[in-house]
Amino acid sequence: MTGKGPQTTLPDFSISPRIDQVGVEERASRFTKRSIKNETKMNGLKLVLNMIDLTTLEGKDTAGKVKQLCYKAMHPHDAVPGIPTVAAVCVYPSMVSIAKKALEGSGIKVASVATAFPSGQASRAIKIADVKYAVQQGADEVDMVISRGKFHEGEYNFVFDEIAAVKEACGEARLKVILETGELGTYDKVRRASDIAMYAGADFIKTSTGKIQPAATMPVTLVMLEAIRDFYYKTGKMIGMKPAGGISKSKLALHYLVMVKEVLGDDWLNNHWFRFGASSLANDVLMQIVRAKTGLYQSANYFSAD
């Protein structure tokens, strides 16, 4: 889609569809009522693991830490055969080349946050430079943050143009646009930001940086999935979804899968179109997989703490 620009006439983002808070929260809770058992549970757990963007985004990140995380990404739990790898490893731009090398040949993607993550409070030039650096270091995917301040000021064109510029700087890398929904305040605004991001060229829309509470929630993700569905029907273009932050238990992750399955359907049920941004989720999923296979819970000490 690089260089082709938006595909349809741009809508007026100030009149993005309205969201009823009570209704969307009620609908989201309904997905948690599905009972996931037996082979459905096992397949779901494997799918969840395979959708994880294993993440380390800390000031104290080092090459050593990132290399260990990459090994974990490729070999989540070798004690049990048939366990898939995660989808990607998500790091800061300075760690991209290390991750790229560590993951070479594994098929696991390297995702890099960029654009003055997590606040996004920098000039456009710096943000673009940040993105270009990440891509040049070998990032397959770029996770950008939108300018929430400008968004709250009603400067939707600014936000739109910035996303479009970042998309261009990404080249072949897939662009995930982080809305930081915990700073947006209402579901109406989550929907509006989703629409802006998709029309501006996002390949994925993503809830959160993980640095702000609340991070991903089911209702927020539902609003974004519905935006993706409406965009798909309008343009024919599929957009990926990545809830990030706050999803640390398998049960919750399975509820998210139920939601994707029932809102967007089968085509989105793979790691090309759906990701979990999480660090501690992987071990809980592994623990549940082992539990399902052996009938016993192992202690956390049996799962590598990366």
Binding site: D20, G23, R34, D266
Partner: protein, 495 residues
């Protein structure tokens, strides 16, 4: 992977990847006896009629149990027991004592919630998710709520003395068997009346379980009597000379017969009858939530809901979008084994009701409306109907005017507020209605002008014991629930 397709051929797929494994609730957690007698004067008594009839599981057509068929003599026996209990104990004991008994019933319902939910689902065909999360807890809540009123009637009717009427004859339908029993019994007991209640012919089991609960709660004998039977049993109750009040929930046709029967007697009557609720979506509505509300409005309990939102009015500018969203949502509805925790839509309650629904599907098609049903597979045995919508429906179509009482939605379009008000009110019924819009002032304008007893804004099918429920026009009269629900059971005296 192709990511771009022509948008007019786009379709989301919901059927292949990651299907849900069966998750059935355990049937063995419910005790159903092979045969039930009549519950009269606090004990189980064989019917004078000497007759019994079977009750089946509509999802499998297997027989669950057989229950006694009460005749006029049985009804007379029950009324005498109720009268005796009324005169000797129930009207005399303190209001606080009455409350204690009602609280006790509520708590035992909660204790036996799982068993009651399973039996409700087995006998009626509704999904276990609904009987577990809605029917049973709401029934308990009604008893809790009215237990609270029992000793506070002087605050409900200020400066007046609220006296009980005497013996209440109560006839309830098959769509929410336990819940309707609770709606009827709780306010009657709280106000000091005694009860003769008849559950519907196809769904007697939870009412009989409730009789066991009432026994366990140690209510004085005769305060609540439960008689199973058919239409004749109901007629005997309605015509019994020593009954002071009739409370009926059911079809408008039977409601009319009851009204004729009690004309000229001094029986009080409340009727909660049919409906053909208008659910109205304006172009500025939160569409995805509105669609969910429409789905709940018409497919909740297989559409066997008197306040179901069975007439959908969509503003023309968003009609196409809303219909596509509805169709997508219908594909994710799971139809099948009502005991499975993932089932959204269970079995149609009876063969007879299925025939009625099928008759209307035929009428709809022959009237020229476009029918769409979800693609789900149906089980081989039992009574089933796919979730269905009709588009291109006209106000003059029978499927837009008559109550179908099944999972069938008629969709009509409109242009202006005045037009939709006129169309929505253009019905012999007036039980409930729904409005979907982001604009608060429009909600007030619409709700003020719509002739219906219950109007929901940006939601649908919400029930609470504190909220009065009842209809305008041929949807009946009298209110159940809330403070208003006490009124039909009391005589107010100025002292």
């Amino acid at each position: 992977m192709a990511t771009k397709k022509k948008s007019n051929t786009l379709k989301l797929k919901f059927d292949t990847a990651w299907p849900y494994a069966p998750a059935p609730e355990s049937r063995s957690a419910a005790q159903i006896k092979d045969r039930y007698e009549l519950f009269i004067n606090g004990e189980w008594q064989a019917p004078l009629s000497k007759k019994y009839f079977g009750t089946i599981n509509p999802a499998t057509e297997e027989k669950l149990s057989e229950v006694a068929m009460a005749n006029a003599a049985d009804v007379d026996k029950a009324v005498k027991a109720a009268r005796n209990a009324y005169e000797k104990t129930w009207r005399k004991i303190s209001a606080k004592e009455r409350a204690k008994y009602i609280f006790r019933i509520a708590r035992i319902i909660q204790e036996k919630a799982r068993e009651l939910a399973i039996i409700e689902t087995l006998d009626g065909g509704k999904p276990i998710r609904e009987s577990r999360d809605f029917d049973v807890p709401t029934a308990a809540n009604h008893f809790f709520y009215y237990a609270g009123w029992a000793d506070k009637l002087e605050y409900a009717f200020l400066n007046k003395k609220a006296e009980p009427l005497g013996v209440a004859g109560q006839i309830i339908p098959w769509n929410f068997p336990l819940l309707m029993a609770a709606w009827k019994i709780a306010p009657a007991l709280a106000t000091g009346n005694t009860v003769v209640l008849k559950p519907a012919e196809t769904t007697p089991l939870t009412a009989l379980k409730l009789a066991e609960i009432i026994q366990e709660a140690d209510l004085p004998p005769g305060v609540v009597n439960i008689l199973t039977g058919a239409g004749e049993t109901g007629a005997a109750i309605v015509n019994h000379p020593d009954i002071n009040k009739i409370a009926f929930t059911g079809s408008t046709d039977v409601g009319k017969i009851i009204q004729r029967a009690v004309a000229g007697t001094n029986k009080r009557v409340t009727l909660e009858l049919g409906g053909k609720a208008a659910n109205i979506i304006f172009e500025d509505a939160p569409l995805d939530q509105a669609v969910e509300g429409v789905i709940n409005g018409i497919f909740f309990n297989q559409g066997h809901v008197c306040c179901a939102g069975s007439r959908l009015y969509v503003q023309e500018s968003v009609a196409k979008q809303v219909i596509r969203k509805l169709k997508d949502r219908m594909e994710s509805l799971i139809v099948g084994d009502p005991l499975d925790k993932n089932t959204d839509i269970g079995a149609i309650n009876s063969k007879q009701q299925l025939a009625t629904i099928n008759k209307y599907l035929q009428i709809g098609r022959s009237e020229g409306a476009e029918m769409y049903e979800s693609a789900c597979k149906l089980p081989n045995k039992g009574f089933w109907c796919r979730p269905t919508i009709f588009t291109n429906v006209a106000q003059s179509n029978r499927i837009a005017q008559e109550e179908i009482f099944g999972p069938v939605l008629s969709i009509l379009t409109f242009r202006t507020d005045d037009e939709v008000i006129e169309k929505a009110n253009n019905s012999p019924y007036g039980l409930s209605a729904g409005v979907w819009t982001d604009k608060g002032s429009k909600i007030f304008n619409m709700t003020k002008r719509m002739r219906a007893g219950v109007i929901w804004a940006n939601t649908f099918n919400k029930f609470d014991p504190t909220s009065p429920f009842g209809g305008y026009k041929e949807s009946g009269f009298g209110r159940e629930g809330g403070l208003h629900g006490l009124l039909p059971y009391v005589e107010l005296k100025n002292i």
